[in-house]
């Protein structure tokens, strides 16, 4: 009797185990009843640390969202890791994110090199990548990857549109390029070359610099000797400051233009001692003092949670890059899996957050933004918007 009961108990226990096993197998990585686990890598130390403000800005956004009750009853648990802009570190952190922490997705993660080091690994593990890389290189959309949702304007198209603006609006036909010798800089150069080719023109000088270079005197001389009326600058802030100073020394004053990565007017005006005034750049986000209701809300969060952070472009763009993720989570509903999230994201059409440009994702095309506008830096560091939204990516 006892034996029969014992057998029955064992059988029932086994049945109960088998019944619960499928449930645990269905559990989605990084999603619990009360939390969604999101990660971000970003350089908090090293030469590219200024861009690390993006990751902290996303942290501010999630704090605010959590304070409002989270999304569908779940709070965002956010993991920020410093990769020092070193792809090897990013890869190690990526493994930690997936295999130890178990994240649902990542947001932002500044850098082409760092992003490329984990792109395929994240894809294999179905990690959602929203606003991935925070950069407008084509690496996130070619080949098409259904787990990546980039929102940055493509550099190639941005540079091409800037050259067109010089040519059509300012009648500047002799254009030179100063670019950082990496994917970011080269895609800027490519954009300028594409437009020049269409017009049957040639770039009068293409001058590159390594990320670590600190002496740009011979670069400035080459640009001056090219006779360029306008120079398109696709580099990092330090190079922008050094190059403008060197050009000013030798009396070379072309019309400058640059990418949205150097759109922090107050910072650039400060480090160039005013030489940045007159710079024309792509400005696809709301200005820092915008009256957009979302920007007002983010500034209030900034004052409440992180008042010591500088409200600079890089920092608040961290909020803006996290917006599409939050929108996707809202649309996906309570039944959150990678598949429901992707389907929800692919319903986003001409959606506007504080990020400015309208965002659209379709099942066959994940390049979120296709528009930008141009602005000019004023002597007080503020931006004067020069154009309406322009469609730059077909």
């Amino acid at each position: 009797m006892v034996k029969r009961n014992l057998g029955l108990i064992c059988l029932l226990t086994l049945a109960a185990f088998l019944m619960t096993a499928p449930v645990s197998a269905q559990q989605v990585r990084g999603v619990t009843d009360t939390e969604i686990l999101i990660g971000q890598t970003g350089p908090q130390t090293g030469p590219a640390a200024a861009w690390g403000a993006v990751a902290r800005g996303s942290g501010l956004f999630f704090k605010g969202i959590n304070d409002e009750g989270g999304i569908h009853g779940r709070k965002i648990k956010y993991f920020l890791r410093d990769d020092g802009y070193q792809p090897a570190k990013t890869k190690a952190i990526g493994t930690e994110f997936v295999e130890q922490i178990g994240i649902f997705g990542v947001v932002g993660c500044v850098g082409v090199g760092p992003g490329m080091s984990v792109r395929d690994y994240y894809t294999e593990n179905k990690v959602l990548m929203v606003s991935f890389g925070c950069s407008g290189v084509t690496n996130w959309i070619q080949p098409f990857n259904r787990y990546i949702f980039p929102v940055y304007q493509l550099y190639v198209d941005e540079a091409k549109a800037l050259t067109r603006y010089f040519y059509e609006n300012m009648k500047l036909t002799k254009v030179a390029v100063f670019y950082q010798n990496d994917d970011y800089g080269k895609q800027g150069l490519e954009g300028v070359e594409r437009y020049e080719k269409e017009k049957g023109l040639k770039v009068v000088a293409a001058v590159s610099a390594e990320v670590t270079d600190r002496d740009l005197s011979s670069h400035a001389l080459k640009l001056k000797n090219s006779g360029a009326e306008a120079v398109v600058l696709w580099a990092m802030p330090t190079h922008g400051a050094l190059l403008l100073a060197e050009c000013a020394k030798i009396g070379y004053k072309p019309q400058w233009g640059t990418s949205s990565t150097l759109s922090d007017g107050p910072l650039m005006m400060q480090i160039t001692k005013g030489l940045w005034a007159g710079m024309i750049n792509s400005f696809p986000i709301e200005p820092p003092d915008s009256n957009n209701p979302l920007m007002v809300k983010y500034r209030a969060w900034h004052q409440k949670y992180e008042p010591n952070e500088r409200w600079g472009t890089f920092y608040y763009s961290g909020c803006l890059y996290a917006e599409p993720l939050a929108e996707g989570l809202r649309r996906a509903g309570r039944n959150l899996t990678p598949e429901t999230f992707i389907k929800a994201m692919e319903t986003i059409r001409d959606w506007r957050g504080a990020i400015g440009a309208p965002i659209t994702f379709t099942p066959t095309d994940h390049q979120g933004t296709r528009d930008t506008r141009f602005a000019q830096v004023q002597p007080d560091g503020s931006m004067k918007i020069l154009t309406d939204w322009i469609r730059i990516t077909k």
Partner: protein, 290 residues
């Protein structure tokens, strides 16, 4: 273009010379290559920046306080880190300087953040002097003057003062120097303090020429190391010659050969000099007798 490339090369070479000077002072006394030199200079420059920006200290007082800080920083490093090393080899001490470099870099990132800053400086980086049609910014000109004056003062100091001679004696044979009554430990601290101060001068000038941020000395440090190797690791005039030559060679290479490979020139020079004349152009070949 040739003349302007040479003038610009001289100007940037003066910055390399200044930092190389700081490295050579330590190398002359202790055979140690100080890889923390750049970050020590960067921290001192941040101190000057903070004094002027946050406490509105006038420039000249900020410079004086920064020099004091740099002296204390150099002596602190020697006392707290290097002196505590147990039976240190030269290689071990060099590794300690690498560790200190990372500590300082992390500290600067934590304390001042990664944003680029502009160091207020009384001499303009944009206004220029005109020499027969060739332009040089005022700050570049004064950097050359300052590096030559500092080099001359240090040359006199090492040649004619008791402390200077004691420093050279300590480098050549620490035990014999101690037997002769030289307080070698004190001399070492003093050397690090002086070197740190010279580095602070370089740091402030380099920040005024460009921007102030934690990695600002990474490139200049490597170039100054190349300058010191080119001129001679134990020669003070060698740093000036090495710095000027490197600046000019780099600029000419960038101007006429390839800008993409301009930054590689310095490293090619290190390799070439170590193969052809390891002691450098102006230093005597020195073989340690055992």
């Amino acid at each position: 273009m040739l003349g302007q490339l040479i003038v610009s090369g001289l100007a940037v070479g003066a910055c390399y010379s200044l930092l190389a000077l700081a490295m050579v002072i330590i190398y002359k006394t202790s055979d140690v290559l100080n890889f923390a030199q750049g970050e020590m200079a960067m921290i001192s420059t941040y101190v000057a920046f903070t004094l002027m920006e946050s406490y509105h200290v006038p420039f000249q007082w900020a410079v004086i306080f920064t020099f004091l800080f740099a002296i204390l920083l150099g002596a602190f490093f020697e006392l707290v880190f290097l002196r505590q090393a147990k039976d240190p080899t030269v290689l071990g001490l060099i590794i300690i300087t690498l560790g200190f470099e990372m500590i300082l870099m992390g500290f600067a990132g934590w304390k001042w953040g990664p944003d680029q800053r502009s160091l207020a400086f009384p001499v303009s980086n944009i206004e220029t002097y005109n020499f027969f049609g060739l332009v040089m910014s005022k700050i570049n000109f004064w950097t050359i003057v300052i590096s030559l004056v500092l080099m001359f003062i240090l040359f006199l100091f090492f040649r004619y003062t008791k402390v200077g001679i004691a420093m050279r004696a300590t480098q050549q044979n620490q035990l014999a120097a101690r037997v002769m009554g030289i307080r070698t430990k004190w001399i070492l601290s003093f050397t690090w303090a002086i070197s740190s101060m010279v580095g602070a001068v370089a740091g402030m000038l380099i920040a005024a020429l460009g921007v102030l941020d934690p990695p600002m000395m990474m490139d200049p440090l490597m170039k100054s190391f190349a300058s010191a190797v080119l001129g001679g690791m134990t020669s003070l005039p060698g740093t000036a010659v090495g710095g000027a030559m490197l600046g000019i060679i780099e600029n000419l290479f960038g101007g006429y050969v390839s800008l993409s490979f301009k930054s590689v020139v310095a490293f090619a020079i290190i390799v070439l000099m170590l193969c052809i004349k390891p002691s450098g152009l102006l230093a005597k070949h020195y073989v340690k007798k055992v």
